[in-house]
Symmetry: C2
Subunit: 358 residues, 2 copies
């Protein structure tokens, strides 16, 4: 399938996994669910045999472009696009569409987040192939994951009529629900988790952008013209990127587009959004403690996530459901349920000008 490109969105800012992630070393570079591969490296490896390396683009912050190239030495360096500013996912996809379009206007783009956990890789690779095939037929395609719990941390997709075997129409996108609604979604059966993975032909996306977000379409068109004539577009992007409409592809395009389709699947998908998810994915002992990278002495302690950074011993006495992350220069302690508040520490440290720690 040489008219398929993958676009990996790696725009993480490094706050939710503080202190392991940092502004200079965000989540996608971490081996959160493996002992040897970073989340980004796993995402690329899972494409083997489906998308050739030179058809894999990674869009990341310009500050992380060099580290991204070092993590992915198999990619041509020019395939890593460094965004001059953080403008959410729609500009990122518009820019990537320009690069794909310059090389193959009708190619299918598989747009993938850099950092999900995939528990069942064969099932995932199968659904990738089916989603690419669906996108080759036209329209905008997304993957919807069959819910396995009433999750309030994810967005949902309500599905409508079946268009072809395994492909349904997207009725609407639904924001993160409260627990009551999440439970209703579970029992209803026509709601799927929004995986944030999108598939479309480059020309279809550029056409959709021309309707929904004309400034992004114009930006992409300028970039495509430069690239098509053998020129670079880095300087061009640097001058314009910060002014582009900052909006997610979900809100800016998918929710408004006329023809949006969903391929339904189940492949052990987790959005590793916080230390809570890291705990859920980790292997645990009989007291439900998960330990990584530390010697420990755990006395009367249950349900804790303990992550060290070497030969230190970490001792817990009489605590439950704590997250403990210890690095050389920072230590974080909180109940697992407070994982969403890690950003408050990062903000507090910035306010104190303690930027060496963020």
């Amino acid at each position: 399938m040489d008219d398929v490109f993958a676009v990996i969105m790696a725009g993480g800012s490094g706050t939710r996994f503080w202190p392991l992630s940092r502004a200079a070393w965000p989540k996608q570079f971490l081996a959160l669910a493996s002992n040897h591969e970073s989340l980004l490296q796993q995402t690329v490896r899972r494409l083997a045999g489906i998308v050739p390396d030179d058809h894999i683009l990674v869009v990341t912050s310009s500050a992380h472009a060099q580290a991204t190239r070092e993590q992915l030495p198999m990619l041509p360096p020019g395939n890593v696009l460094g965004e001059p500013a953080a403008r959410n996912t729609a500009p990122c996809i518009a820019w990537a569409a320009a690069h794909v379009s310059a090389r193959s206007p009708r190619a299918v783009m598989a747009v993938l987040p850099a950092d999900p956990h995939i528990g069942d890789e064969p099932a995932y690779r199968d659904i990738l192939l089916r989603s690419i095939a669906a996108a080759q037929q036209g329209g905008l395609v997304t993957i919807g994951v069959t819910p396995t719990r009433p999750e309030t941390g994810y967005g949902y997709i309500e599905v409508g009529e079946t268009l072809s075997p395994g492909v349904e129409r997207v009725q609407r996108f639904v924001e993160k629900p409260d627990l009551y609604r999440a439970q209703r979604f579970m029992s209803d059966g026509s709601f799927l988790w929004n995986s944030g993975m999108f598939f479309f032909r480059a020309d279809a996306m550029l056409q959709e952008l021309a309707t929904q977000l004309p400034d992004l379409a114009a930006f992409a068109d300028g970039s495509r013209r430069l690239l098509a004539t053998g020129q670079q577009d880095a300087e061009y992007a640097r001058e314009r990127y910060a002014e582009l409409t900052s909006v997610s592809i979900d809100h800016g395009v998918m929710e408004k587009a006329a023809d949006v389709r969903v391929v339904r699947g189940a492949f052990g998908w987790y959005d590793i959004g916080s230390w809570t998810t890291a705990y859920e994915l980790a292997s645990k002992d009989e007291q439900r403690n998960a330990v990584h990278g530390a010697a420990t002495s755990l006395v009367d302690s249950e349900g804790c996530y303990v992550r060290g950074s070497g030969s230190k011993v970490i001792a817990l006495i009489g605590v439950r459901d704590l997250v403990v992350v210890d690095t050389d220069d920072a230590l974080l302690i909180m109940p697992r349920e407070r994982a969403q508040d890690v950003r408050r520490v990062v903000e507090d440290l910035k306010a104190k000008h303690a930027t060496q720690f963020v």
Copy 2:
């Protein structure tokens, strides 16, 4: 008062303040209640002008003798006695009495633990002088502290008749009470905290030992004879110490002696027995957090004791009443109320042969 000697008992084993204290670096060497002086150094400094430096003896484990001499360079090195084995306080006092007796048989010995916290030093020095004067009259004298709370972690002294102004007879020693009894002791008015500070003439103690613990009296007598003839007693002690009766001076002598007196006082005395006490003594912010030796980011956190060891940042989110002690090679986290269980970590690490951490 050159016929006064101080005997400082520094036999700590370094478990209750793990990981800051270690087997090789026990509590008395730590600056737990000060930024520059260890508990032992404070105990010696508080004697200035009352007991001359060359009359201050320190009895400690032989493993800690050298570090003790380094912490107290003003003492003659021979004044630090290194015990060949841990045998509780009665053998320690018997040995010290032999040393004092060899130099001045009728001298008063002020026997002091190495590691109490004293909040009101002028009041303490006043009661020291009064206790020494009382002991010069004969009998065994102890300091009883007026209780300020129904403390269940201390032993108590029940006082009887008044013998002279400020000196009362000890009716009995009482073990650590439960909360109900501690509250009764508080309201009764005739119960005092047992400070573990004792005052007696060397000859009075040696006579009492001859009655109550004859093996200790015989050991002390042999030591005294060697010293009186200008010989050393280190080899003598090494051969015999491990066989001596292991008993506290409270149980072995004070509770059975006929003439035991108490001097009553209030001088902000704390037995720094655990991290809980260290928290109680520390200065705190508006959320009752006490921080020492670390940069912090404390989000929605109250009543925590945080102790770092340098330039690291320690972040807490949504936790209450935790103790967090971070050193270069060990980290301890527990609720303040579990401080008595630190020894379980030390035992666990020993059982795992992780002796580098204990």
